[in-house]
Amino acid sequence: MFKQIIIGAGFAVALTGAAQADNFTGAGATFPAPVYTAWAQAYHGATGNELNYQAIGSGGGIRQIEAKTVDFGATDKPLKIEELNRNGLSQFPTVVGGIVPIVNLPGIAPGQLHLTGDVIANMYLGRITRWNDGQITRINPGLRLPGLPVTVVHRSDGSGTTFIFTSFLSHKSQAWANTVGANDSVNWKTGLGGKGNDGVAAFVKQTPGSIGYVEYIYSRKDKVTFALVQNAAGQFPQPNGGAFAAAAASAPWGKIPGNYVMLIDQPGRNAWPISGATFILVPRNPENPGRTAAVLRFFDWAYKTGDKTAIGLDYVPLPGPVKDLIRRQWSNEIKTGGRPVYNGH
C-alpha cells in the first residue's frame, strides 16, 4: 500500500513535470534534420524540454509556419524580405553546408579536375558535350581528359541543394540565368535525375563521363571523385568545413534585410563558392509568445553548445560574430506587446 502511494506520487510528479516543460514543434527542411534531432536530444537531456521536429521538406515547413500549425518552420531556401513581411515572419540561419561537384572520369583522381561556374553551367545547358572540350582543357593544362561524352546528373526531387547549385550557376552564367534560373527544382535542359544525394551519387558512379552535384558529405565517400571550383578570388580551394566557414565569415550578414544571405561566390580567398546556410522561420508577433520563446531559447542553446555536435555530423557552425548578430535581431524583431519575446534567459 505504502509502496503504491510512492509510485503514484512519482507518477504525479512526472506528469506535472512534463506539463510544465517547454515542449515545442517544428517542421521543414530535411537537410538539417539530423543536426536538429541531435540538438533536440541533448537539449532534452539538459533541460527536459522536448522538440518535435518533422522533416517534411522546406516547402511543407514554409506552408506550416504560415498556417501557424507549428512553432517554427525550417527551410533551405531563404525567403525574400517581401515574403517575410507578408506573413509576419522572422528568419535566421542555423548551420552552413557546401555543395560539391562530383565526376566519373577514368584516370582522374579526387580534387584533380578544376572547373569554373561558367563551364559547369555550359555542361548543364548541353553546350559542352565532350570532356576534351577546349573550355575544360584550358583550365586543366596538366590533365589528360578523355573524349567521353558529358552526361549531367541532377536531383530529381525538389531540394535546397538544387536551389544553391542553380543559384551559383545563375550568378556565374548569364545564359543560365536567362534560360533556366534558380529554384529548388528547375526545367533541366539535359541529363537525368537521381532521387536524393544517394541517387545522384549512384548515377555518377555508374556512368563514365558523368558529372553531378551533391552535399559535401556525399563527396567524401568511397570511389567518388570530387572536382574543385574556382571562387571569386580566382582560387580553387579544397571543399571542407574550413572553406564553408570562410564563405560564411565573408558573407554580408546584417546588411541584407531578413537575412536573405546566399553564400554563393563569397570574396574570401579560401571560401568555397557553392555554400549555403539553412534557415529557421518564426513569427514576429507570436500569438503564443511562450512557445516562440522556447524555440529561441533552444537555438540560443544550440549556438552556445551545439557546435561540436554539428561538426560531428559534417555541418559547419555559424561564425561567432554572426551568432551575436542573430541574437540582437531576435530582441529587435520578435516582440510581443513591444517587448522582446526572448532576451537571453
Binding site: G59, S156, G158, S185, L192, G193, G199, T207
Partner: protein, 325 residues
C-alpha cells in the same frame, strides 16, 4: 393429441424465431453500423475527388487543355505541361504488362494443369511472396543492381552493335547507365506479375472439370486443352485480371522514381530517361513552394486518378461478367 401439441410448439418455435429475427433494436443497430461503414467509405472517396479537383483547379483552369498537350515543366517560370509524365506513365505501364503477361500465363497454367498439386501449393505461395516485397526494395535493387548490370550487359553491347543511323539505333540510343523507361518497365513487370498470376490461377481452377475431362476424353493433348478450352473459357475475366495489374502499374511510385531517370522531356527512345505522374509528384511535392507548382502537382494526381479509375472500372465490368464467354 401428442402430434397436435408438437405441431403447436413447432409453430411457436417458428414464430419465436421470426419474432427474434424481427426484433427491431438489434436489427437497427446492425443496419446502421453497416450503413455508416459504407457512408464513411463513400465520403472518403467523394472527399478525395473533391480535394483533388479543388487543389488542382488553379493549374487546370490556368493552363486548360495545354496542361495535357505541352511538356514544358518549368517551376522557375511557373509553366506546367504534363504531357511527358502522362505519356511516361502509359508507356511504362503497358510495357510492364507486355513483359508480365506471358510469364503470368505460363506460371498460372503450369500451377493449375502441369505441376503436381502438392508442389503447386508451395510454388503459388512463392509467387505471392513476390507481391509482399516493399516497393522501395525493388527501387533500391533496380538502382544498385539491375541498372549497372543492364547497362554493362545489354545497353552497351546493343549500342555498339547497331549500325549508326538505322531505326534500331533510334530505339536503343541513350545514356548507358541503365536508368531508363525500359528498366523501369522491367521492375514494374516483376511487381505486377504475382497479382496477375494469382488471379489467372484462380480463374483457371474455376473451369468446370467436366469441360476439361470432356476435352481429354475427345483425345485432346494437354496443350490443346489449355489453349483451346481453358484459356478461351476464362478469356473475359482474364482481361479483368490484366486490368487490375495495369491499375497497380499505373500508380506505382517509389520503385519507378529510383530507376526511370526522372527527366521531364519526352522519351526519344526505349533507353531514354523519362518520368511518370507518380514519380513527379513524389519528387517535387515536399519542396514545392509556389501555389501554381503545388496546384500543378495535385492536378497531376487528378489525372492519375482518372486514368486509374477508368482502368479499374473496365476491369470490374469484365470481371463481373465472368463465366463462359
Amino acid at each position: 393429441m401428442s402430434t397436435a401439441a408438437s405441431a403447436k410448439t413447432e409453430a411457436l418455435r417458428v414464430a419465436d424465431a421470426q419474432g427474434n429475427a424481427r426484433k427491431p433494436r438489434d436489427d437497427w443497430a446492425f443496419r446502421t453500423l453497416c450503413l455508416s461503414a459504407v457512408l464513411a467509405m463513400m465520403a472518403t472517396l467523394i472527399g478525395l475527388v473533391g480535394s483533388l479537383v479543388s487543389g488542382g483547379w488553379l493549374a487546370l483552369s490556368h493552363f486548360g487543355l495545354s496542361f495535357f498537350t505541352t511538356s514544358t515543366w518549368d517551376p522557375v517560370a511557373d509553366q506546367y505541361g504534363a504531357a511527358a509524365p502522362i505519356v511516361g506513365t502509359l508507356i511504362t505501364s503497358f510495357l510492364a504488362l507486355l513483359f508480365a503477361l506471358p510469364v503470368a500465363i505460363g506460371v498460372a497454367v503450369f500451377l493449375v494443369e502441369i505441376c503436381p498439386q502438392a508442389i503447386a501449393r508451395w510454388l503459388a505461395i512463392a509467387v505471392e511472396l513476390l507481391a509482399g516485397i516493399p516497393s522501395i526494395v525493388y527501387g533500391m535493387w533496380g538502382l544498385f543492381v539491375l541498372a549497372p548490370w543492364f547497362a554493362q550487359n545489354v545497353q552497351l553491347p546493343l549500342m555498339t552493335w547497331v549500325t549508326p543511323g538505322s531505326w534500331l539505333e533510334a530505339i536503343v540510343m541513350g545514356v548507358p547507365n541503365g536508368a531508363n523507361i525500359f528498366t523501369a518497365s522491367l521492375i514494374l513487370a516483376v511487381m505486377i506479375l504475382p497479382y496477375i498470376a494469382a488471379i489467372l490461377r484462380e480463374l483457371l481452377m474455376s473451369v468446370p472439370s467436366h469441360m476439361r475431362e470432356a476435352a481429354y476424353g475427345l483425345g485432346c493433348t494437354p496443350r490443346e486443352v489449355i489453349m483451346r478450352i481453358m484459356l478461351p473459357y476464362v478469356r473475359r475475366s482474364a482481361i479483368g485480371a490484366v486490368m487490375l495489374g495495369l491499375g497497380r502499374a499505373l500508380g506505382e511510385t517509389m520503385a519507378v522514381t529510383f530507376i526511370i531517370g526522372n527527366s521531364h522531356n519526352f522519351p526519344h527512345s526505349l533507353f531514354d530517361s523519362g518520368s511518370t505522374i507518380s514519380s513527379t509528384i513524389a519528387n517535387e511535392f515536399t519542396e514545392a513552394t509556389g501555389d501554381m507548382h503545388i496546384s500543378a502537382l495535385i492536378a497531376l494526381g487528378t489525372v492519375l486518378f482518372m486514368i486509374t479509375f477508368v482502368t479499374i472500372a473496365i476491369a470490374r465490368l469484365l470481371l463481373g461478367r465472368g463465366g463462359p464467354k
